[in-house]
Subunit: 241 residues, 2 copies
Amino acid sequence: MTSITARLVRRLEHFAPLSAHERHALDDAAGTVRRFESRDDLAKQGDPVQGIFGIIDGFACRYKILPDGRRQTLAFLLPGDLCDPRTFLLSRMDHSVAALGPVEASVFAREAIQQLSMLPNLAHAMAWSALVQHSISREWLLNVGHRSSFERISHLFCEVYARLDAVGLASDQSCDVPLTQTEIADALAISPVHVNRTLMELRHTGLVSFHGKRLVIHEMAALRRAAGFNPTYLHLRRDQP
Amino acid sequence: MTSITARLVRRLEHFAPLSAHERHALDDAAGTVRRFESRDDLAKQGDPVQGIFGIIDGFACRYKILPDGRRQTLAFLLPGDLCDPRTFLLSRMDHSVAALGPVEASVFAREAIQQLSMLPNLAHAMAWSALVQHSISREWLLNVGHRSSFERISHLFCEVYARLDAVGLASDQSCDVPLTQTEIADALAISPVHVNRTLMELRHTGLVSFHGKRLVIHEMAALRRAAGFNPTYLHLRRDQP
DNA sequence: CGTAAAATTGATCTGTCTCAACGTGGGTGG
DNA sequence: CCACCCACGTTGAGACAGATCAATTTTACG
């Protein structure tokens, strides 16, 4: 990793290659890299929008909490993910963002975003990134709405693997997924107990194992079939670099 | 309604007032108004993006279908709603859009969108609109993931009322909601049979009635409480015109 | 090593689904 | 103008995926 924003660049280049000038602009615009510890809130529901996060390392999530304490994870933010730069148009956050484990994120200020938006290709890449995140939200709705717990977990694993692979963080059908079973449960709207049982079932089928934050996919094709996973909603480039 | 886009303008002005020039530009950019009949697809998953829809009248929806035939409605498109103009950045639709009953929609071509995007205030209003739609997707995820069927339906009614009210299509705590029980079921990931039972329950509590496409909310405060509805995620102006 | 968080397992309960019928209202062709 | 028809709505009975409650074991880490 030569530059701070290398991971963001790699992600954005799934839309289109960035020129050296654009890459440098991105690097200049990125403020200091901030480090967050597990469970830190990067942003809180109801707060004014302070900055746009670009995830350098670690997993974060968007979430909301119901009055009775039930929590729904709305999205995972993975290394390379850049939040929607237009979020500054909203006066307040309608949800919170938290770190799941240690996270390094660069924070783009309003003025920095304005500068970057003047570069058409980069602006398009950031817009594309936001569109993809919306597409993922829709797929999650389908996932939670109409798939069984077995399919849901399989689908999540397929997605996370594909997204990590897209930024070079997966190889050999395996990758680090620093999520607890409870965190998976919050994302998929399944009880933690049931996540546990379903994970065992997945292991017994031999499709996947997930132990000690390490995800290993033993049979990708079969897993995708079981999950009903079709990666087109991720809008990644077909020719992976 | 003096102009074709009056409803879109009204919706966008929840972000900021539009100048006469901006309103005219929007009107000029809007192609012919197209009319769709119930169940027509305005756009199909897998197709190239042909145009950006602005809903003039009627309800439409985004949806996906699972191989086994189960259908998830991902969003409702209500009068005044404008699809994300940046969708042109995606090569193909990752979901379909269909009319729920007769729909009138204006279709903006790529060049028209480019023209409109040169007007900063209008471009911001359109971006804001897209952000709100993403916010609604997130709230739906919370709804489907963690609320009971009673809460879900209550929540949907609160949302639809608020959104219709925002464009002047509600009054006296009532509005036209041209949805069948099956369509509500597809949106909330509940079986049609259970939607029916839950609607009766809602009627018996006296909070809401929903007969013949007419929604009447008898006790707004109590309904919102029962639904856990907090309208901030809609990012509407506080002072309704 | 001690301690707290995370994972695992068992037993029981329940909201919602599924299947299967029947009622009803509005549109249409004879 | 009426009778048929079809989509939509309604109702009942039984089944089940997943929730909940309650321990117990394992792991991570200071």
